[in-house]
Amino acid sequence: MLTVTDLNVYYGAIHAVKGISLEVNEGEIVTLIGANGAGKSTTLQTISGLLRPRTGTVTFLGEPITNLPAHKRVERGLAQVPEGRRIFLSMTVAENLEMGAYSQRGADTASGMEQVFTLFPRLQERRKQIAGTLSGGEQQMLAMGRSLMSRPKLLMLDEPSMGLAPILVEQIFSTIVEMNRAGTTILLVEQNAQMALSVAGRAYVLETGQIVMQGNARELSGNEEVKKAYLGG
């Protein structure tokens, strides 16, 4: 479904992503784990089109999208829940969801919203509330719901557990699994490696802009090096 080949991304003179290649197949949950600054978010933002690679290609559904503007990628079914949620704080919950459906010209926004409300009943209660007044967990739900409004084929999530209480993290991850069961392929970037490996099928381990390990998520969570570096022993 998604193929990234030999991606090199720079921030000015800083070489942030060094020749990363990865693949996501339909129906999978794939995770990129690694320490802060390993290049996980940069990779994701290059796939979604917010950043441009210096070299390398991104192919989605068999077509190259490396030079496609970000807003066109959404129309093709590639959505991203950005790091730090980045919901529109001054708009209402419902307006945020409407913005999520922006690429679905003329589509039925109401039925999309119903689906999001089934997944996150909390958002329905708060749909007229200004998004900035929501709690952190609710904001994460809104960010996820907003991305689902574009009916993505591949949903990329950047650090969905960031800044949330453990109970909320559990909830968010079980929703991710639920979304995947409903047919959305998932590419997940996480610092909480333990959680990420527990829901993912496959994983890539990033270190200073390079993939240092990859494979079955269960096997990786049993790997001594991974345990030592990312799972706290």
Binding site: S48, L50, P82, S150
Partner: protein
């Protein structure tokens, strides 16, 4: 009675400032830049309308609509050629470019239309409306300015709160990256804001020259700066703020002229701005936003 009549002239001048200030504030909201060429777009709008009416003897409404089209095209072109290539540049580079565009427009106008002032005809006619047994007389231009301001305010509020495009505009103002991830074309949205702001500038230019009939290539610069002041006064980036700031500024200016000193009226306007900004740095309706790192 003179108090009431000054108040009405203040509100009417303020309405014109408010219409100009909307252009500044909307562009700032979305592009985070101060478009100092905005005042000169007003002047181009007034000239366009003037020539269509005086040379081709077109009816007022045709002149106004045509001037709006000319300014829309001009605004979008300026954005495309001068500002868009600088989207990632430091704010200072964009600011200097905007000042450059302003001088370019003034000098192009000087070349095209010479420095001889044109006498602009009042588009609303010259029959004053007498109220309270003839004690209070209101010029039709004043009424037209106030009415235009109200209509524009209502229309813009509806546009930004109820239309798909208007909401996309708010989304872009808040977070361009996140807006892109929603599938919003940020460049198109920015162009649209320039288009709306410039069309409003045409209306303001025509109303301004209708009230103060001397039209020269620098006609737009002082009202432009005052409207910018009004936008900052009300809280830059805020649409209702531009409206309130504009109207207050107009009232302060006319009262300053009437009761304090004609020569000092501009100084008084800017003094009030300084005081307001000392007390409320974000303006009357502005929100203090923390710069994100």
């Amino acid at each position: 009675m003179s108090f009431l009549s000054h108040l009405i002239s203040g509100i009417s001048l303020g309405s014109i400032y408010a219409i100009i200030a909307l252009g500044y504030t909307m562009v700032y909201g979305i592009a985070k830049m101060l478009n100092f060429a905005h005042g000169d777009v007003i002047m181009v709008g007034a000239y366009s309308c003037f020539f269509l009416m005086s040379r081709f003897h077109l009816p007022v409404i045709v002149g106004v609509v045509a001037a709006m089209l000319v300014c829309t095209l001009l605004g979008v072109t300026i954005e495309r050629l001068a500002y868009k290539p600088l989207r990632a540049a430091p704010a200072l580079a964009v600011l200097i470019t905007a000042i450059g565009v302003s001088y370019f427009l003034q000098n192009a106008a000087l070349l095209l239309w010479t420095s001889n002032p044109k006498v602009f005809p009042s588009i609303a006619g010259n029959t004053s409306i007498k109220l309270l047994g003839g004690q209070l007389s209101i010029s039709p231009t004043a009424l037209l300015s106030i009415a235009s301001c109200i209509v524009i305010m209502v229309a813009l509020t509806w546009f930004t709160s109820s239309t798909r495009m208007g909401k996309a505009m708010r989304a872009c103002s808040e977070d361009k990256g996140a807006a892109q991830l929603m599938g919003i074309n940020v460049n198109v949205t920015i162009s649209m804001v320039f288009a709306i702001g410039s069309a409003l500038a045409a209306i303001a230019g025509i109303l301004l020259c209708s009230a103060y009939p001397t039209l020269t290539p620098t006609t737009g610069s002082m009202p432009g700066i005052k409207a910018f002041t009004a936008a900052v006064f009300g809280g830059i980036g805020s649409i209702p703020g531009a409206m309130i700031g504009g109207i207050l500024l107009g009232i302060i200016e006319i009262f300053g002229k009437a009761y304090i000193s004609t020569q000092l009226s501009d100084a008084i306007v800017f003094l009030v701005l300084i005081i307001v900004l000392l007390v409320r740095p974000a303006g009357i309706l502005g929100k203090t936003v923390q710069e994100k790192v």
